[in-house]
């Protein structure tokens, strides 16, 4: 297990470095950052002054190594738009997005896994059809529409939940449902398919023959094997939620990192965008790394494969 962990760790670090190089280069190649900063009415003298002030006139490799070195020390530079340290700006926003992402994936797993198991145990039953309906609806409903429907019902009609903000736990209920619901269908379908396959396996028949109870067979023997692809998928979904919660954050005025990323891109706020890409990528890589470890623990064959 140690060798496997070290191998995966080395791979994760390599991927992180590659991502940092690509994101840095792409953003610098996508247009003159000085022109974006100076605005429409800048003269060429202004542009030169800005290039010098921000160090854009130095070789790209020098800029990259300096940026990476500073980033490794927690210094991501200053936001061009907010004129504040990027690290402060992001740490403030990231906590909201992390909390939302964790709540959403937990919500999705808590609903989707039991439903997927139930659907697999009784294929074509009412539960299976309900699961299928939820799954289709989850993928078909645009999150901005679903979010607004929840707001109309729970905030305006019933006055139970606040429509926007992030001050209390109640502010997170609707965003969690909207974002989590988006992740549910894939998890549920994968759980169902995995369970259907596993339930017909010989070792399940053996377990039943040995007199193991239904719940023990389902959750101890079958789910352990069926859940492996779900773990990998959840890691990907979690990474997606961190970066892709722009719409949900905008609807519920959550001011998280997803919305900040979208706003920073539209404002050419390079330091913020670079830092966010790096941080989101790190999370993605971290989740994938953790899911690999979890899968290796669940299925020892993976460790040697």
């Amino acid at each position: 297990m140690l060798a496997f962990t070290l191998k995966r760790l080395a791979l994760a670090i390599l991927v992180t470095l590659t991502v940092s190089v690509i994101s840095f280069s792409l953003l610098h190649l996508s247009g003159d950052p000085a022109a974006a900063l100076a605005g429409e009415n800048a003269s060429s003298t202004d542009l030169e002054a800005i290039r010098h002030l921000y160090g854009f006139d130095r070789p790209l490799t020098t800029q990259y190594t300096e940026w990476l070195w500073n980033a490794l020390h927690g210094d991501f530079g200053q936001s061009y738009y907010f004129k504040l340290p990027v690290a402060d700006l992001i740490s403030d926003r990231l906590s909201v997005t992390m909390l939302l992402g964790l709540c959403s994936i937990t919500f999705a797993l808590l609903v989707a896994v039991p439903l997927g198991v139930a659907a697999a145990v009784k294929p074509n039953s009412i539960i299976d059809r309900l699961a299928l309906f939820l799954s289709v609806a989850g993928q078909a409903l645009p999150s901005f529409w679903f979010g607004l429907v929840l707001v109309v019902i729970f905030s305006i009609k019933l006055r139970l939940l606040p429509p926007s903000g992030s001050e209390t736990w109640k502010h997170f209920i609707m965003p969690t449902i909207v974002l989590g619901y988006y992740a549910m269908p894939a998890i549920m379908r994968l759980t169902r398919a995995g369970m259907l396959e596993v339930l017909n396996a010989d070792y399940i028949r053996t377990a039943r023959a040995k007199g193991a109870g239904t719940m023990r067979v389902l959750f101890k023997h079958a789910l352990r094997n069926a859940i492996i692809p779900v773990v990998s998928l959840s890691a990907v979904q979690m990474g997606f939620m961190l970066g892709g919660s722009v719409v949900v954050e905008a609807i519920f005025a959550l001011h998280g990192a997803g919305y900040l990323a979208w706003e920073s891109i539209s404002r050419h706020d390079l330091p913020t965008v670079q830092a966010l890409i790096l941080i989101f990528s790190c999370f993605y890589i971290l989740f994938t790394f953790l899911s690999d470890l979890t899968n290796a623990w669940l299925d020892p064959r993976i460790r040697v494969g």
Partner: protein
């Protein structure tokens, strides 16, 4: 049974724990929403309307333009006079204190202007301040502003675009500190700032300027980007006032007892630009008859009544009617498609022609115009772009036929619109020497009668030649609870210090 129980438990728990913030006058707090995340609270380092709104609450200028009368009154100054065409002398108000207790005097004005006019300070909108050469201190409460050439709109700029900062505090904290903890002399002081997200203003009891002393104790401002979420907050009691509500939604809210819908025109006007100077190569629009035909082809009144609604109105002159120097007494083009066809035939286009039509906002308005143009034979192909892309094209001389708008940055002087579009700049598609000359003359004399005369000549020729077809003024819907007394103004500046509880 179990699912039912769990749902009931959840509902009950939610009911019991329901204690969301409700806006009301009992806690003397007005809850409002900004749509845009503001980059900084330092006025000189941001360019959003929200920043303009906050500026007027937190800081004062030397003068104040009363929105009710349109007259300038002393704010941080008590009197002023033009010494010559480039020197304006102010007597400053004594006994004024900044929110941090610092005394206000001539040094603050000298320091503020010297700081923001210094090119190294990189203020976001240099045109707000770079008309000033320097400020000379005569004595503790007398200053003279020396301008870079005659600048008749000086008082207009000083009434809103040049807030005065405390010299000691600003020297200490700089733009960054001012953005996080602003200090001014205005009716409201800043209590807390969460950058981009949340601002809390408190009434400043020591206020002595020309604006109203604040009545409402606390102004709580949250940034909520989605207008539907703002409406939901308004319905559920989390907000008291929002603005920029689309016409159809505002109409629905008019029937709700607890809400007031106020509609007010804004300084933004819509217009059709045409490439009379052939900057993008030869085109039908170089012919005056074609440009006039465009004017006669479009039923502007119908567009205002059916699409813009509210207090929007048809305008004929290339400026907003209440701006200084903006006469509406110019040739106009009422809806007359037959005349349009006649003019097109006279210009050599009896069967019309095909052209691109550029626009960047309000697509339904652009589409309505295109259908009117199509009816007289001008087959327009809509090119809908981002504003920055369209502006870049225009600077290069392209996109010479399209529907655009301009809001004059709330500056109530005709020079805030005509100087940009008719004085041979890179967005001037008329390039008329005589028009540019009249406008420049108006921009550089402090004689008000002479200015009005020059602008009238220029605006009349712009209309006669149909360089632009001015279309209509815009409007904004404000929706607020019945608890507040509030009257919006055409400059789109929400003045919290003018509001009170009913």
């Amino acid at each position: 049974m179990k699912p039912f129980l769990s749902v009931s438990a959840f509902t009950l728990a939610a009911l019991l724990s329901c204690s969301q913030a409700h806006a009301n006058k009992a806690d003397d707090t007005l809850h409002v929403a900004f749509t845009k995340e503001l980059e900084s609270l330092d006025f000189y380092y941001q360019s959003a309307r929200e920043g303009t709104i906050l500026n007027r609450q937190i800081w004062d200028g030397l003068v104040f333009r009363d929105p009710a009368t349109g007259k300038y009154v002393g704010d941080l100054a008590t009197s002023w006079k033009w010494i010559d065409d480039t020197t304006l002398e102010f007597k400053l108000r004594e006994g004024v204190k900044f929110h941090n207790g610092e005394d206000f005097d001539a040094d603050d004005v000298v320091y503020t202007v010297a700081t923001v006019t210094n090119p190294d300070s990189h203020v976001v909108t240099p045109s707000y301040v770079n008309w000033m050469k320097n400020v000379e201190k005569i004595d503790k409460y007398t200053i003279r502003i020396h301008t870079n050439g005659p600048f008749p709109a000086a008082l207009e700029y000083l009434s809103g675009l040049v807030p005065i900062y405390p010299d000691k505090y600003y020297a200490e904290v700089g733009a960054k500190g001012m953005g996080l903890k602003p200090v001014g002399t205005g009716p409201y002081m800043v209590e807390s700032v969460e950058p981009g997200k949340h601002y809390v203003l408190k009434k400043f009891d020591g206020y002595v300027g020309a604006k109203h002393k604040a009545d409402i104790g606390t102004i709580d401002i949250r940034t909520i980007p989605d207008i539907n979420t703002q409406l939901a907050e308004l319905f559920s009691g989390g907000l008291d006032l929002i603005w920029g509500v689309p016409a159809d939604q505002a109409e629905q809210m008019e029937s709700m007892d607890q809400l007031t819908v106020a509609n007010e025109s804004t300084m933004r006007i819509g217009y059709i630009v045409m490439d009379a100077a052939a900057r993008g190569g030869d085109s039908p629009f170089t012919k005056k008859e074609v440009r006039q035909a465009v004017g006669y082809a479009i039923d502007r009144k119908a567009i205002v009544e059916n699409l813009l609604k509210g207090s929007s109105e048809v305008i004929n002159s290339a400026c907003y009617p209440t701006q200084f120097g903006c006469t509406q007494d110019v040739p106009s083009y009422s809806y007359d498609p037959a005349k349009a066809k006649e003019l097109l035939a006279k210009a050599g286009y009896p069967d019309g022609f095909t052209t691109s039509f550029y626009a960047y906002r309000d697509r339904p308005y652009a589409e309505a115009m295109m259908s009117y143009l199509n009816a007289v034979g001008i087959k327009a192909d809509l090119k809908f772009l981002q504003y920055s892309a369209l502006r870049d094209m225009q600077k290069k001389g392209d996109a010479g036929f399209g529907f655009l708008t301009w809001g004059s940055n709330s500056i109530s002087d005709v020079s805030a619109i005509t100087s940009l579009f008719f004085e041979k700049g890179d967005q001037d598609f008329a390039r008329d020497d005589q028009v540019a000359e009249w406008l420049k003359a108006g921009d550089t004399t402090v004689d008000e009668a002479k200015r009005k005369e020059d602008y009238a000549k220029a605006l009349t020729k712009i209309a006669e030649e149909a360089y632009w077809i001015p279309l209509f003024s815009y409007n904004t819907n404000y929706v607020f609870t019945k608890d507040i007394d509030f009257k919006p103004t055409p400059d789109e500046i929400v003045r919290f210090f003018d509001m009170s509880w009913k």
